[in-house]
Symmetry: C2
Subunit: 456 residues, 2 copies
């Protein structure tokens, strides 16, 4: 007899976890829709030609590949074996599991460019797979939840992303968080301004450690990465800068005066703030972080990252603007901006802060119980009536001791139990017990429906 | 430049398809929840040891296998190549994509048997993958939508499955359909009663062709399959039977009087009908089909199949009771009953019958448009207000000709457009145009919110 197990790095979601995930995802979906985003789904399997080369060498290694169907080994020769796995791969596999939602989205846009209405706002909530080493909080199958607009460079999109994040967090009762915001052009400008044009990548990596290791050590690292002494001292006033949003912007206008692209970045940021002001909303939670980089690679404008404070893993969302998402598939010049909620991380944050609603909307509200066959028949008569009133209701399906039926309600977290005994049958009532308070009262069905009904 | 494509047998779901699928799935979910079913999800990847041998030899062939990560070929020797794919498979792959939701559910129940509260009612809506030859209406990735109760043999579950199917169909406005119902024990009993005990499988396969090829040809086929002349003539009165539900049951009580298990099947069916009667509901759409078999293999009690009439592919749901779902994973004696909605088929049926709601709940309701920068700024000021009233609203993000903004609304199917021109700015109003009727009127924002608001 085989003992079943799950593949490493994967997991099941039971009823409680699913109800909580649904709570998070419904909140996000409702917000995306309010802002005009439409849902799409793409297949789990993509051609390897679509996936390979989009995530760097390490990413290619982490792709899950699907073995070709049928006689998958027919093209492999004995001499191929000596060349190793990478030489054999394209003979035994032509498909892989999606690694993120961005590349499939780019493929979708290119394949449907003639049918889509641009600007196209889409959201997508699906699992992705990565053959990462499993560890705490990191899985080989996990959900991503992405929203992107493509086909416009309007900064309204950036402003709306900030509003969407705030709305989701408000609905989830998350209060203590920052939406860190920066612009790739500012980073490019800083590298130019200090005399190290093109080196914003290593610059950001080093500066990112400022909080942990301090300025002296960061200077050492910059020197190791080939930054000259002058460049490093040029950088010092920026690192020392402590100011509010307006102060930072003013400082940068001076600091970046020699860099056209840097000043453009500042202007874009100011426009995003202006749009928010014109919308009549404040800048609560918005934190202009001059060194925010998030990997940089394909971002060309805004860069976002959302951090929840005072929790173990705070970074729950990120994104940015990219000017060439679809270029690799032959459609250049499509500007887009998007961001992604980390659903698993949001789950952990809400769990840590105790913010999940006590009772899930999806769970049973009332269990009908009985002592004998007569009570069972009577309860069956009530069941359909109560369900027709929209109350999620179950009947215990087998005639067992009533204590066992109550145990079932307790274990399943059902808040009300209706008892159908001889007295209730005689008087056409049920005895309704509130499982939390212990209160019990006899009443007719319509009164029971009222008592049990949702206060939503 | 690479031209992207999708793997054979897979597809994208665009915004319109997604909205329609969501309409179907939300209806099903709401019904499952009303009856106390709870959602779970299992990973896309399962160990091959979990999947293999559960779907017959053909099923094993159709499993999508995942190539091991890293140096997948290291255990393959030159001499293995001669032995062919099946000898190499277990050296290069240990995981596969799930083939259905039933086996993963059985695995889940066994792995969580100590935490679950039985009877356990679960539903699960996830894609499955099969390396079938793609053809019209058959995909390599498709969704299944299953509901099962395990841990009880109560026939209340069978009655509730009938009620759930009827509720879903009512909500989807599907009127012309049958819920075909049978019991495996009756089929076993018939084989016994005609003197061919154990041969209900071939019996059903042959009888299934009655409508197409007629009784004479079915007799020939039965003879070919080794049924004796006496058995075939014993069967004749059953084949000739034309009767209503009560008549069929009475006939079977006589026909099966020598078969204990057959009579038990009849009794179970009668109990399901009795439970429905006790619930105060009729038997509309319920069709007792004595020959319904649905592959048989693991069903031990009730067998269901739902057929929509007058459409090209009518079979949209099926299921039954099984007494040993989890036995293969070392947990014997768990009785369960379940059924599955074919989401893709339901989609096709609703499409064919024109039953999708004209407008999707998820789509944008109002587009704000403008002529110039001043109008843009004014529109931005209204946007947040209108969204805060729960109206799904967009602003056209770039200052383009107003005709282009109207084209956008038309293409996206947005039913209302709000125009923000000089007049509207001066009078603090917007001109609201109903895109279907062409009516246009100037009004203040709260009146616009009222006009645009959902009548739901």
């Amino acid at each position: 007899m085989q003992k079943p197990s799950l593949p490493k790095g994967t997991r099941d979601f039971g009823p409680v976890q699913m109800a909580r995930r649904t709570f998070i995802l419904d909140t996000i979906k409702e917000t995306f829709q309010l802002f005009g985003y439409q849902q799409i789904e793409t297949p789990a399997m993509e051609n390897l030609s679509t996936l390979t080369g989009k995530y760097g060498d390490e990413g290619d290694q982490l792709l899950f590949k699907i073995l070709n169907s049928g006689d998958f080994i027919k093209d492999v020769k004995a001499e191929d074996l000596e060349k190793g796995a990478s030489a054999i791969l394209n003979k035994v596999s032509e498909k892989g599991l999606r690694y993120d939602l961005t590349v499939p989205f780019a493929r979708y846009v290119v394949m449907n460019r003639n049918e889509l209405t641009f600007p196209f706002k889409r959201y997508q909530i699906q699992p992705v797979w990565r053959a990462d080493r499993p560890q705490k909080g990191r899985y080989r199958e996990f959900y991503q939840c992405d929203a992107d607009v493509v086909g416009t460079d309007s900064l309204v999109c950036e402003a709306e992303i900030i509003l969407m994040i705030r709305r989701v967090f408000e609905k989830l009762s998350l209060k203590d968080y920052s939406i860190k915001l920066n612009n790739r052009k500012i980073l490019t400008g800083i590298a130019e301004a200090i005399g190290e044009a093109g080196k914003e990548g290593p610059l950001c990596v080093a500066i990112d450690k400022l909080d942990k290791i301090g300025w002296e050590k960061v200077k050492e690292e910059l020197a190791q990465r080939g930054f000259g002494d002058t460049s490093i001292s040029n950088l010092a006033p920026l690192v020392a800068l402590e100011s509010d949003l307006v102060g930072k912007l003013e400082f940068l206008k001076g600091f970046l005066k020699s860099s056209e692209i840097g000043l453009k970045g500042v202007e874009e940021l100011e426009q995003v703030f202006a749009i928010l002001r014109q919308m009549g909303v404040d800048l609560d939670h918005v934190d202009f972080d001059i060194m925010l980089a998030r990997g940089l690679s394909y971002y060309t404008g805004a860069i976002f990252e959302v951090k929840v404070h005072n929790v173990s893993i705070g970074s729950v969302s990120g994104g940015g603007r990219y000017d060439n998402l679809t270029g690799v598939f032959g459609l250049p010049g499509v500007s887009g901006v998007g961001f992604s909620f980390g659903v698993d991380r949001l789950y952990d944050v809400l769990d840590e802060l105790g913010l999940f609603p006590a009772e899930s909307h999806s769970s049973t509200r009332l269990l009908l119980t009985y002592f004998d066959q007569e009570g069972f028949t009577y309860a069956l008569g009530l069941l359909n009536q109560i369900r027709n009133a929209g109350i999620k209701t179950e009947i215990y399906p087998n005639a067992v001791k009533i204590q066992k039926q109550f145990d079932f309600a307790n274990k399943k977290g059902i808040p009300f139990v209706g008892v159908c005994g001889d007295d209730e049958i005689k008087t056409s009532t049920i005895s309704l017990k509130n499982m939390a308070s212990g209160e019990q009262a006899k009443m007719d069905v319509s009164a029971a429906i009222q008592s049990v009904g949702y206060s939503m």
